[in-house]
Symmetry: C2
Subunit: 337 residues, 2 copies
């Protein structure tokens, strides 16, 4: 298969992006296409040995930055690496596109260039959420849709369940709905109606989950609107970061604690690794007619490599087609209300 | 002043509640009134030396449990400690009521028995949120109102600002609105409209805050609807708990790490204390005609003591009256839209 990577997206482009591609190419033999400023990408490639038959560069003279307004950027920068990369998926010259760039623009580009899967009202951005010591959960939506209707939450649960099974390898994944209590009668009118719909679907819906239980693995797929999902991932990031910072400052004050911290050095870095987003393979855009994965803006080579390796089943296992096939059931459930 | 305490609320009633009252009475000379099953409360009191002129018991033959449906319980259990305690605030035989009981029932009881402050559309439950090493922020709302209108969020910001200043002692506190980005144009239609209202008010509104920044102290008062607020406190609790558990399990595997952990014992318990909700004084109900504070269901004596000590300025500084006085400005802002 052919995987296009945005050579210009994120804080560490193009160097870490290029390095991640080279690292991946040592493990898989798919064709990797780095889309970006040819001169800069070739410059970064020069530092490494690589097989030029399997890593090639497609020139893109423009860049969408994080300061660009997403929709406007997609419309006015057709020569940007992001728009060109998604365009390659559209015309079939790539099977998958990966970018660490502007999240809003990746979403807007996926919507405008690839288009929604017919019958999916609201495509979403899913994100992997580390469950300490127990792999990951998949959170859908994490920011594409701040305001949702019940049928959107049904779509998120269904698409998330498919991705979890086909890409992350969890068979018959559990699906939970974020709510302020576990009882069926809790929450907003939208949440209550979504509960009804999810219960009628053929996915493994286990009911409401409270936010307290998310970090300990309440469900494989966590469904919520994009506002709440955004709060969940950002708060988790901020809190984990603050706790690790606090640990560091506490352990580094006083001689005896310092010795203790030294003896625990290996364990402390294991701990840090639990929160390392670069291990987990990125956030798929679900519900559009093509495979696109967004990775963290601060992705390093390892994150790029992992996104490539772990993203392959998105294409190989036909996730887009399976979502398409689920639409009929979704429509039936919503109609039966 | 007279402080009524729910002797029957929470997991550790009445023993820890009673002990907390006795501990508080050694520090302050206000009258403490423990409302609950007289026999059981007296039994718990018997274990301690205390000044019976300053700690007395008001008998309540019934109890509202966490399994009770809040509104129904308040209506059908007039002899419960919770309903009686709030009733004492209403008739002036207590100035403040503190309970570790059923949160929904405390809210419903406050609404039905004390009533809303005229002009406040939606009373709220505020909660203190520990900012590691830097005191607390106040989060409003944390669960009373899952669905909010823009004027409700304005009320939350205003009431929170007053409480932060008058009770938690932060002068001219900063107020931030939880959003999925810091730009004014981000978020749902409700959030965008709330932003406009908050900007027009005389409180120290600093704009949108992303959830990532909450744990590091983005603002003194954090405004959000009750659904999002509930997700924030519960997720924070769950995540902190999981991280501490993970630390413990990592540090306890292997001889060398075990020695390291031993040397860090003091620091580890300092760390744990940062997350100890019993230090922070409880969650006030804001917008009703009386002072009511909800404390954590698993409150120990220390939490009860701190809620009593830290809750006093709620009454002494006339927070209910100051909120009442702010209503005119709130109405003007909303009318000017």
């Amino acid at each position: 298969m052919k995987i296009a990577i945005d050579g210009m997206g994120g804080d560490n482009a193009p160097y870490e992006i290029v390095k991640g591609c080279i690292d991946a190419s040592r493990i898989i033999d798919d064709e990797l296409i780095i889309v970006g400023d040819e001169q800069r990408v070739l410059e970064a490639l020069k530092d490494h040995k690589y097989d030029s038959a399997r890593i090639r560069v497609v020139h893109a003279q423009d860049v969408i930055t994080n300061d660009d307004a997403p929709v406007k950027a997609v419309r006015t920068k057709p020569e940007s690496s992001l728009v060109k990369g998604i365009g390659m998926v559209r015309v079939g010259s790539a099977d998958l596109f990966i970018s660490a760039g502007n999240t809003g623009a990746i979403m807007a580009g996926s919507l405008f260039i690839l288009g929604r899967i017919p019958g999916i009202d609201r495509p979403a951005i899913a994100a992997t959420y580390p469950i300490m010591g127990k792999g990951v959960a998949l959170l859908v939506d994490t920011g594409a849709n701040s305001e949702c209707k019940p049928n959107n939450l049904l779509e998120f649960g269904t698409m998330g369940s498919i991705y979890m099974e086909k890409v992350l390898g969890v068979s018959h994944p559990t699906v939970g709905l974020v709510n302020i209590g576990t009882e069926e009668t809790k929450g907003t009118t939208v949440i209550k109606a979504a509960y009804e719909l999810l219960q009628k679907s053929s996915i493994n819906f286990i009911g409401n989950v409270e936010a307290r239980e998310i970090p300990s693995g309440a469900a494989d797929v966590i469904v919520c609107d994009g506002f709440v999902g955004n709060v969940i991932i950002k708060l988790s990031e901020g809190l984990a970061w603050n706790i690790l910072k606090l640990i560091k400052s506490k352990f580094m004050s006083g001689t005896i604690p310092k010795i203790g911290a030294l003896l625990l050095k290996g364990k402390l870095s294991e701990l840090k690794k639990e929160f390392d987003y670069s291990e987990y393979g990125g956030a798929p855009i679900l519900g559009v007619k093509g495979a696109v994965i967004k990775i963290h803006g601060s992705s390093n080579a390892n994150a790029v490599k992992n996104a490539i390796l772990k993203g392959k089943p998105f294409v190989e296992n036909g996730v887009v087609q399976i979502i398409q096939n689920s639409v009929l059931e979704l429509e039936e459930i919503v109609r039966s209300e």
